[in-house]
């Protein structure tokens, strides 16, 4: 399994949740994929690209096969796809390997120009997941049943997020209720984890999982970046010849 690589043109996104009852990202993600292929970017899906927890076999088959059908012409192109495993697709850990132009990995260490970038979904640093992984999995599955009955629930939470954080653009750091600096909408444990990772010689740590897009300045001039989710204001990281920026996808 190769987790260290050099990339001059790479787009990273996360938490598309294809196949989930409440997922509406199929169309925008297809356009994102088209954009990447047309502009010579490789793609990294940083976890939870498909969702096997909030769905049924029939639903995920219909939803994912429709998106894959749209992507098929592009899948024959030279575009390489890196798929980092998340918690909603953790079953894919059984397939960690290279599958032609698709590479399934637990994390990526990307070099671009002089930058070293760590790409990881981030569920391993979720305090609840770390303490009670089985309970978290069970609750997530239960949530799936709830979402089957009330698929609009995510859009309600998104409305709440939009009201609370207002801007569609990724947030900058703010203090949480305990006075610790973090990105609005996420636990500061992710910042601590990113800091620990950055100390291993990374300039950027890119995560998903929290559905809260934003950037955070770590110690020593390093940065933590979160690409949020495709449930609202999808974001992606663009790596181009040794530069990195977090961008909003408007496609």
């Amino acid at each position: 399994m190769i987790t260290d690589l050099r990339e001059d043109r790479l787009l990273i996104t996360s938490d598309i949740h294809l196949g989930a009852f409440s997922c509406q990202a199929g169309g925008p993600f297809t356009r994102f994929f088209e954009f990447a292929c047309a502009n010579g970017f490789n793609i990294c899906i940083n976890g939870d690209g498909i969702d096997v927890l909030h769905t049924t076999l029939g639903h995920i088959t219909r939803d994912v096969s429709r998106v894959l059908g749209n992507l098929q012409p592009m899948l024959r192109s030279q575009t390489r796809i890196y798929y980092v495993i998340g918690n909603h697709d953790i079953i894919l850990e059984h397939f960690l390997s290279d599958w032609g132009s698709l590479r399934l990995v637990p994390f990526l260490n990307v070099s671009s120009g002089d930058l070293r970038i760590r790409v990881e979904h981030g569920h391993l640093y979720d305090p609840f997941f770390m303490k009670h992984p089985d309970l978290q999995s069970a609750l997530t599955r239960f949530m799936g049943i709830f979402l089957r009955m009330k698929p609009n629930w995510y859009s309600w939470t998104n409305t709440f997020r939009k009201i609370r954080y207002r801007k569609p653009e990724a947030a900058q750091s703010q203090r949480d209720k305990h006075g610790r600096l973090t990105i609005p909408g996420q636990n500061s444990a992710f910042i601590q984890a990113a800091d620990e990772l950055a100390r291993r010689g990374f300039d950027y740590v890119v995560m998903g999982h929290t559905h809260a897009p934003g950037t955070f300045d770590l110690s020593g001039g390093k940065k933590y970046v979160n690409t949020g989710s495709w449930f609202h204001h999808p974001h992606y990281v663009k790596i181009e010849n040794g530069t990195l920026e977090l961008k909003l996808w408007n496609g």
Partner: protein, 147 residues
């Protein structure tokens, strides 16, 4: 060498970070810079590897409590993170993929060593065959000439 917080240490170019034969209970992760690994064979320092940021070294002394098996010097100004024996498990708890990457790199090093052993054995085989041919020529020159 300058000690910083959180186990971080700065080394100037040419500083010796670990010395072969000395006891040590720390491993190091390279945060910035490059280091060179050498081993003393006879009177010569033999180059083993250059390591750069993201790489680590010194894990054998930490895991097996044995003296350092090589000398490591800073090739450029370098900042290292030192992980002591008592901190490794906590480091892995806070940063679980570090254990995965350690295993990945150690597996890669074992594979490279295996390849080198095979190469050496092949070289040894060739050398032995050459020596045998030479000794045959020396011992039975007439017979070789007849053949």
């Amino acid at each position: 060498m300058v000690y910083k917080d959180l186990g971080e240490r700065d080394y100037a170019t040419g500083d010796t970070i670990v010395r072969e034969g000395e006891m040590g209970t720390e491993m190091f992760i390279i945060q910035e810079g490059k280091v060179v690994v050498t081993k003393r064979i006879g009177d010569t320092d033999v180059f083993l590897a250059t390591l750069e940021r993201g790489d680590f070294f010194g894990e054998m002394s930490l895991l097996e409590s044995v003296p350092r098996t090589a000398t490591v010097r800073a090739l450029t100004p370098s900042r290292l993170v030192a992980v002591r024996a008592g901190e490794l498990l906590m480091k892995i708890r806070r940063d679980p993929t570090f254990a995965f990457e350690m295993l990945q790199r150690m597996s890669s090093r074992v594979r490279q060593l295996n390849d080198q052993v095979v190469q050496l054995m092949q070289m040894d085989q060739v050398t032995r065959e050459e020596l045998e041919k030479l000794s045959l020529r020396t011992e039975f020159p007439e017979r070789k000439a007849h053949e």
